[in-house]
């Protein structure tokens, strides 16, 4: 089993993965609240990034409306908890189920009508935006006034996993386990029939079909798994932030946010989305420090807005990554550091 899942890693790769997991496990022991909070966000982005990557990277389906599925999970679980007192596991089942059903319905329509590529992406945006406006008007979900999850000061200090009420450390461990779980799931899927079929359909649907792959069905599977994962992220989001506003949850920005880490890390790679998330967020921090230092040294004027400059360089940095490493940073890093075995060396591990 280990071989099948991690057969692609070299000794160095396995050691790096183990060290990474170990670091994540012990982080709350010494990190400040801020570091923990940022790492929670990074892990959340790594988790949704993996969900999104599963669709584009594995099955070749570009979605720019993934906030829809995340939002369905968030709103369903928040609604059931806030209005009916049902625990998040119920929300996960209902919200996840709903997201999977919506994902299946959208993709069934799209594939039935042979919508592909950019058009499929725009279809996902259209559905996400449509849903945002509908939730804006859904009084039972709080509309634009927001949906709030009840939380008491005592429960904030606790560790109630069943109700997802507790300290930031608890949420950190929950999202960390979800993130690692998603990674294991992706590894398992990629080495199973679905993984082979997805990649075949991604590379050449016509040839895949001639080899007996029901491309409609396998594309649907990809969308369904991905939307279910995104909905899971939504449940986490709802219980972590406790306040939901449609324009925050369903916005195009949120959908785009999900795509950045996997694209920068490496679309279609297993670890790329996680790597991308751990690169992008600190990149913003480093840029801020650099600019503030430059301002302090009076190399650039104080009147220059830090945020504008930061995002300017951030945009340029991302563009540079696309131009220089179009396959993402992770494959490049792997090659440099020798973390991944070349296909011909994998046999020996078996």
């Amino acid at each position: 089993m280990i071989d099948r899942l991690f057969g692609d890693l070299t000794r160095a790769g396995l050691a790096a993965l183990a060290a990474f997991v170990l670091l994540l496990l012990v982080l709350p022991g010494f990190a400040t609240g801020y570091i923990l909070s940022v790492t929670t966000i990074i892990l959340y982005l790594a988790f949704v990034g993996q969900a999104w990557n599963l669709m584009l990277g594995f099955a070749g389906l570009l979605s720019i409306g993934h906030a829809l599925f995340m939002g369905i999970g968030a709103y369903a679980s928040a609604y059931l908890f806030a209005r009916h007192g049902l625990p998040p596991i119920v929300g996960l089942i209902v919200g996840g189920g709903l997201a999977v059903a919506v994902g299946a319905a959208i993709s069934a329509l799209a594939f039935r009508f042979a919508i592909g590529g950019v058009y499929f992406a725009l279809l996902t945006i259209a559905f996400a935006e449509f849903t945002r406006i509908m939730v804006d008007h859904a009084r039972f979900l709080g509309g634009t006034e927001g949906l709030f999850l009840p939380v008491s000061a005592e429960s904030r200090q606790g560790f109630d996993l069943f109700h997802l009420r507790g300290r930031p450390e608890m949420f950190y461990y929950v999202i960390m386990l979800l993130c690692l779980g998603a990674h294991a799931l992706c590894r398992w899927l990629l080495t199973s029939r679905a993984g082979y079929y997805w990649r075949a359909v991604r590379d050449n649907p016509q040839a895949a079909e001639a080899l007996g792959v029901n491309i409609f069905r396998y594309r649907m599977y990809a969308v369904m798994v991905s939307s279910g994962m995104a909905a899971t992220a939504g449940v986490f989001y709802a219980f972590f932030y406790n306040n939901l506003f449609p324009e925050q949850i369903f916005s195009v920005e949120r959908s785009i946010e999900m795509t950045l880490a996997p694209i920068v890390g490496g679309v279609g790679t297993l670890f790329g989305p996680i790597f991308g998330a751990f690169v992008l967020t600190p990149l913003g921090e480093v840029l801020t420090w650099a600019i503030e230092w430059l301002q302090h040294e009076e190399i650039i004027g104080k009147q220059v807005k830090v945020d504008g400059v930061k995002l300017l360089f951030w945009g340029i940095a991302v563009a540079a990554i696309v131009l220089l490493q179009p396959r993402g940073l992770w494959p490049w890093a792997c090659k440099r550091l020798g973390l991944i075995r070349a296909p011909e060396d994998r046999e020996e591990g078996r």
């Binding site: 909070s37 406006i133 927001g146």
Partner: protein, 410 residues
């Protein structure tokens, strides 16, 4: 788009990037033990769509630091944070500020972002003095460390009705029908709900003929105005944001809609940008909003300092309420005599400030941390200025009502 920016404290900037990392990783208790000044985290949307408001609020804080020092309050030290108009970032930034050793947090203008920061403050036991945020749940959710000296949406609506009555009595002319046009966002929808719920109890001379909600992200607002004009209501009541307010007002002129008056109970219609861009067409609008009382002693000091620092700007509620949030924090520190957050919270609960800047008898918090006595003002746009017309105690000029026609303005 994940962006985790921050403004590190001035001190950490001095030490450069490496030290900034060290500061943010170091346990926050060390930073706190060394402090002699009260370290106040000022968390505002300094970038993103609300950037202009966040930057505006900061001006109130910059004014407060000098005025409070002159008035003999203990010295403040600011640690600035940026929410980037995103609750997710607001939460992380609140954590960061607390790690940097702040004793009290103030902010965050927007309800969603303030709620996110409130959760962190609650968990860490750090007091949060809200400058601006009207969502009722902020003080209804049972936070023990949240203090708000800003009226909730329903309070603003109630005051708007009462101030309107004063206006109509003074002017001797009242509308029979009013159309409500509001942004379908958190602030707009909750206040519109409150207004429609309250109207029957308020004994008003008019009824609402229609409630028109619009999407604040819409690119074009001509249909909204056409629909409003089509109701033939005597007056129109807007709850909007700045950019929509400008678009809506311009559409009213274009579509030649001249009701008895334009009422507003939200941001936008009185802000400097609005007055500047609309010119004479922005005149005569009456806004019912939390405001400063120009006749109070503290307000005079604030106004003087503000004019000194920002000679080209108009003092507004963003400045006044941020100023007052710092006044409240400073006052609590003075009485607590310590920077220990628990003692500060205790002192904040016992706040009783009479010499303040906003309208009403002063600052006092109920058991939920809400100042229920804070009141709104009615202000009217006059040639680029926004004098108070009601309540009488705070009034600077007499009202113009009904408003002048679009082509009858000099």
């Amino acid at each position: 788009m994940e962006r985790l920016s921050s403004r590190t404290s001035r001190r950490s900037v001095l030490a450069g990037g490496a030290a900034a990392i060290a500061t943010s990783i170091a346990p926050f208790s060390i930073g706190r033990a060394q402090a002699s000044k009260l370290k106040v985290g000022v968390l505002l949307p300094r970038s993103g769509p609300q950037a202009q408001i966040g930057i505006d609020c900061q001006r109130g804080a910059d004014v407060a630091i000098n005025v409070l020092k002159a008035k003999g309050f203990p010295e403040l030290e600011f640690v600035l944070g940026d929410t980037e108009t995103n609750p997710q970032i607001a939460r992380a930034q609140a954590e960061k500020l607390i790690d940097q050793g702040i004793h009290v947090l103030t902010g965050c203008f927007d309800s969603g972002q303030t709620l996110a920061a409130a959760q962190v403050c609650e968990q860490k036991g750090i007091p949060l003095v809200v400058n601006i945020a009207a969502v009722p749940s902020l003080t209804d959710q049972g936070y023990k460390t949240v203090f708000r000296n800003f009226p909730t949406g329903p309070m603003i609506a109630t005051d708007a009705f009462q101030l309107q009555k004063e206006l109509y009595t003074a002017a001797g002319k009242a509308p029979k029908t009013v159309v409500m046009i509001h942004a379908n966002d958190t602030f707009g929808a909750s206040q519109a709900d409150a207004a429609f719920g309250l109207l029957p109890k308020m004994d008003m001379p008019y009824t609402f003929v229609e409630r028109i909600s619009y999407d604040p992200t819409a690119r074009d607002l001509s249909a909204e105005i056409r629909k409003g004009k089509g109701t033939n209501a005597d007056a129109v009541w807007f709850i909007s944001r700045l950019n929509d307010a400008m678009a809506l007002c311009r559409e009213m002129v274009k579509q030649r809609w001249e009701p008895m008056g334009i009422l507003s109970s939200g941001p936008g219609w009185y802000e400097g940008q609005f007055l500047q861009n609309l010119g004479k067409h922005g005149d005569d609008v009456v806004s019912f909003i939390p405001w400063y009382d120009p006749n109070k002693a503290m307000s005079k000091a604030m106004t003087a300092e503000f004019t000194k620092q920002f000679p080209n700007l108009q003092l507004n509620t963003n400045h006044a309420h941020t100023f007052e949030a710092l006044l409240i924090a400073s006052d609590a520190y003075k009485r607590a005599g310590a920077t220990d957050p628990a003692k500060l919270i205790e002192a904040l609960q016992k706040t009783d400030i009479k010499d303040n800047v906003t309208v009403g008898p002063g600052v006092k918090f109920n058991e939920k941390g809400q100042n229920t006595a804070t009141r709104c003002s009615a202000i009217q746009n006059r040639g680029g200025k926004t004098p108070t017309i009601f309540p009488a105690a705070a009034a600077e000029v007499k009202p113009t009502w009904p408003m002048r026609g679009w082509d009858k303005r000099a």
